[in-house]
Amino acid sequence: MDFLLRQKGRASMEFLVSLAKAAAPLAPRWTGELAAAGVSAATLPEDLDARHATVEAALAGSDAFATAALVGEFASVEHGRAAAAAFAESADVLAPRLRALEARGPARLEEAPDLVPPAYWEGVWFHRTTGGWNGHPEMGFIHGELIHRHYVARTFPGDIFAQRASVLALLPEGRPVRDICELGASSGHYTVALQRTFPEARITGVELSLPMLRQALRVANENGWPWRLVQAAAEATGLPDAGFDLVTSYILLHELPAEACRAVWQEAFRLCRPGGMVLMADVTPYRVHDRLGAWRADWLAKRGGEPWWRESATLDQAAAAREAGFVEVTEGGPGGAPYPWVTVGVKPE
C-alpha cells in the first residue's frame, strides 16, 4: 500500500539506512584483520561456541569489528522504535485508512481469542522488536510495510520481494495448485507472491500474531483477494486433514526450536492432499556454509533477536520432511544460491 511518512519519521528511517550503508565497508576490513591473525574457515574449531571465542579473541582490538557490532546493535533495536515513532507521527492519516481497508473485504480473518501461544514464541522479541510481534497494536503495518519498505528493502541484499516469488520456481511441475495453506503468513508478503504466481488459487494464511494478520487482511482487501486468515500456530492449525495442494512457508522455520520445526512438517503432511506438495523456504543451513560463514550467521542471529536460529539451522529439515512422510524431497536455493534455502516434498498418492 502507498503511504507517505512525515518529516521526522522519514528522516529518521533514512538516517538508519545511511548508517547501515556506511557500516557495510567495515566487514571486508575486519575479515581481512581476521585473516591476518591467521583465523580462517580452515582453522576455526568445529564447536560453534569455541568458534565464537576464537573470532572474538582475534578481533578484540579491531575498531572495524567493534564499530560494525555497535552499528548493528543500534540499528537492530532502533529500527523498530524509529518506525513506531514514524507511525505515531502520521497516525491521524494512516489509522483511518487501515480501519477502512480492514472492513472492505473480500478477505476474512478468524481470530482465536482463547489461543495460548507456544512457549517458544511468547515473550520473545523476535528481531529485537520491542514487545515482539504483538508489541504494538499496529505492528503488522509498522513491521510489514514501514520497516520492510523503508529499511529492510534498502539494506538487505537483493530484491526481498522478488526472492519470495523465486522460490516457487522450485516446485515440481505438473501438479495442481488450487488450494494453498501458508504457515506463518505474518503480514502477507509471501502470500502476495503466492497469489500472483497462482492467481486462481484459494489461499489460507495461518499466523500467531493478530496485529500481523490484520495487515495481511488489509493487503488482501486492497487487492481484492479473498484470503482466509486464521490465527493459530503453524504446528497446530486446527484446519481439516488433506485440504491443500500446497502447504508452504517463507522464513518461518528459523523462528522455531527443532521440535516445533518437526511438528510443523508433520502438520504440513496432515494438511496436504495425497499428491500435494510442501515447500518451506528458510535460512541457509549451517552445514552449507563454511565454518566462518556459519559463525557469522550465528553471530548475527545471537545479536539479532533470533533465539532459535541455531537450532533450526542445524536441524536437517529435509530429514524432518521425510520423517513426516513426504517423498521426493529435494533441497537447495533458487539458481543454486544458498539463500533462501528451499526444502520441497510430495505427499504420496
Binding site: F15, A66, V71, K302
Partner: protein, 99 residues
C-alpha cells in the same frame, strides 16, 4: 541460542547484547559524540533562523515542513549529505589509520 538458558528469549528483549566497543575506542566515541553535537547544533540554528525569517514574512511553515516530501534534486542532495554524515560517523569510530 541453545537450551542451556532457562529463558531463551531473554537476549531478544535485552536493552543491549554483549559489549561492542573495546576500551581503546573510548576516544573515538568521544569524538563521534562531539561531531554529532556540532552537526545537531548547526541544524537547530539553521532551522530556528529559517522559521523566524519566514514567519517575519508572514509564511507559516511548521505544517508544510512536516508534510513536505523531498523529490528530485533535493532528495538526491539530502541523501548524499545524509550518507556523508553516516560515513563520517563510522570513519570516526573506526578510523582507517588511527592517530
Amino acid at each position: 541460542m541453545t537450551r542451556d538458558s532457562a529463558d531463551p528469549g531473554a537476549a531478544s528483549r535485552a536493552a543491549t547484547s554483549s559489549p561492542a566497543l573495546h576500551p581503546g575506542q573510548l576516544d573515538h566515541l568521544g569524538k563521534a559524540v562531539l561531531l554529532l553535537a556540532r552537526e545537531l547544533w548547526v541544524t537547530r540554528d539553521r532551522l530556528a533562523i529559517l522559521e523566524a525569517v519566514l514567519e517575519a514574512r508572514g509564511i507559516p511553515v511548521a505544517e508544510a515542513i512536516r508534510d513536505f516530501q523531498p523529490e528530485g534534486a533535493l532528495a538526491e542532495r539530502l541523501a548524499a549529505e545524509r550518507d556523508a554524515l553516516a560515513r563520517a560517523l563510522v570513519a570516526t569510530l573506526a578510523p582507517e589509520n588511527p592517530a
